[in-house]
Amino acid sequence: MFPPSPVNDITVNLEQILASLLVHLTPHVHHWAFTTVSHKLAESVLELSRAEYGWHFSAIRMSAQQLTDFRLGELAQDMERTMPELWQLLDILLSANRKPGAHATEGDGEDNEMEFGGGDDEGIGRQFKEGGKSDRHSSIINIVCLFFVHSTLLGYLRLEIQKKVVILSIMLHSTNQKCNAFECIVGIFLHSCNTPERVINALSQMGISISLSAIHRAIRSLSHETHRTMQEMGQTLVVAYAYDNFDIDFKTHVPTVENVKDTLTHLTSGCMIKLDGVKQEDLCCSTYLWRQSQLNPMIPAHLRPPNRSFLDILNLHPEPQSHLFASGLTRCQQWMAYKFLADLVKYEPPYFHQFHALLQCPEPIDQIPVKRMNYVPVRAMDINQSKVSGNIQAITELLQQGSIEDPSEESDDSIVDISDYVVLFHGDLGTAERVQTLMEHQAIEATPWQCFQFVIFVMGLFHLKMACADAVWCILIEPRQARDDPTSLMHFVSLNRP
């Protein structure tokens, strides 16, 4: 009888055989192993660089949707799934001084537990949290913020994963020029940050970003898309416009006698907000409102409606008698009582925390659903809107960007006539005053368009809140006498922030 075939034993004793080969023929074995592993790793890179995985972006056909849908976390997961060996190899190489055993357990465990796009909110990630929800028509800046939130160049994923994604992205891009999702996102981010061209060129040569010309092509594509969206949105008429000023300091390199004037340039930016749950016919009330308007010069003085003031607002929602009899408190006081209780439960000894779930929010009086609206930023306008004439220009140009123009001049029948409709405009309180003045000025004009009859100004609530905070400051902090007393607000603040 022959003993069992030695061939069978090779697989059983493979480790021993390799170990002995390694001892006696180290260079050859190293070379063989290196070549084998290299081929295997290269194949995995080639695999992920194929178009089926969806990491091919085209700069010429770049769309906002592509940018908002990009998730660095997904890219990292794809990489880890498709090229696990390379992923692990990078783990080891990125921390070559760490002990292999410790690294494997510690690092892998944490990576597996990590949830992409969720988790802790620290650092810059938190700053971008608000702007980070998915929105088809976000501005480039918002897209970039979103990129941060979901991706993490700065926040959510661990630093090592970011590094690995960057390294592997460079490999993918180098293998297949079309596999450039990561580079595109970085390129647009750099553009939105006003990065000097020199830096972009350097980064593009390193393989981290797409080239400068590709960035410009992508931006052009995105601008065209935004332009189309703006026109489509504007034509529906179910759109509100918001605008505000912003200032840029254009410093001249060589000051001369001629250009010593102010270098600060005042511009206007704005956005179009799609109104949710509003139909076009809901806004067809311009003529009706004008017939009752204080500004309408055609109405004889004695027939004009009385002046309205904030006192009229107080009577919009009178206190229901039943409420008053039940607790003896007004609705405002009931809310205050809730606030007292909520703060006690939130800040004081643990005993009170048990009531947290039992606390009932005060009943809303007239609640509208809080929704995230779709909006598109409009092109910045070279208009100084601190004057009435500037506001006329700003309103006209905003509408023009939505393809709405003076109906008397418009020859194209496809453009919607706005004469019977109202358009909501939002802005700060200063803008509200100037728009009011401009409407008074224009009221004597001949056509609804020239009268700015369609303008309904709705002040921004954020500015209202700022005005309220300012009022508190004027009452409790600004007057010198208000700061003397030990029970003054200033004294409390000094205790809080010594």
């Binding site: 405002c332 659903p369 029970t487």
Partner: protein, 101 residues
């Protein structure tokens, strides 16, 4: 300013709770002692309603205060401050909830 209103408002409210708790349970000097009494939610709600009328300025209070021969102006000021802060917070709350009423 927003932060100042937030922080000072909470501190003033908690101070009002301390005073009210001390009034109802004279032996309670601190919140821990108040918590040891294990007041029910109903009692706390009653106290909160009481706090709103006694520790926050309102139109009747201002009228009464002006009619008094000896006025405690510091108290009046703190109550007014409390009222302004709570109105500010109510406005913020209503904006976030979409309550336009």
């Amino acid at each position: 300013m927003h932060e100042v209103i937030g922080h000072t408002g909470v501190v003033l409210q908690l101070d009002a709770w301390r005073v009210e708790a001390n009034k109802q349970y004279p032996e309670c000097e601190s919140f821990d002692e108040f918590a040891s009494k294990k007041p029910s939610l109903e009692i706390l709600e009653d106290m909160a309603r009481q706090l709103v009328t006694s520790h926050v300025a309102h139109s009747e209070y201002i009228f009464e205060a002006h009619c008094k021969a000896e006025r405690d102006m510091q108290r009046e000021n703190v109550l007014l401050m409390q009222q302004y802060f709570l109105l500010y917070k109510e406005l913020s709350w209503a904006m976030n909830e979409g309550d336009i009423g």
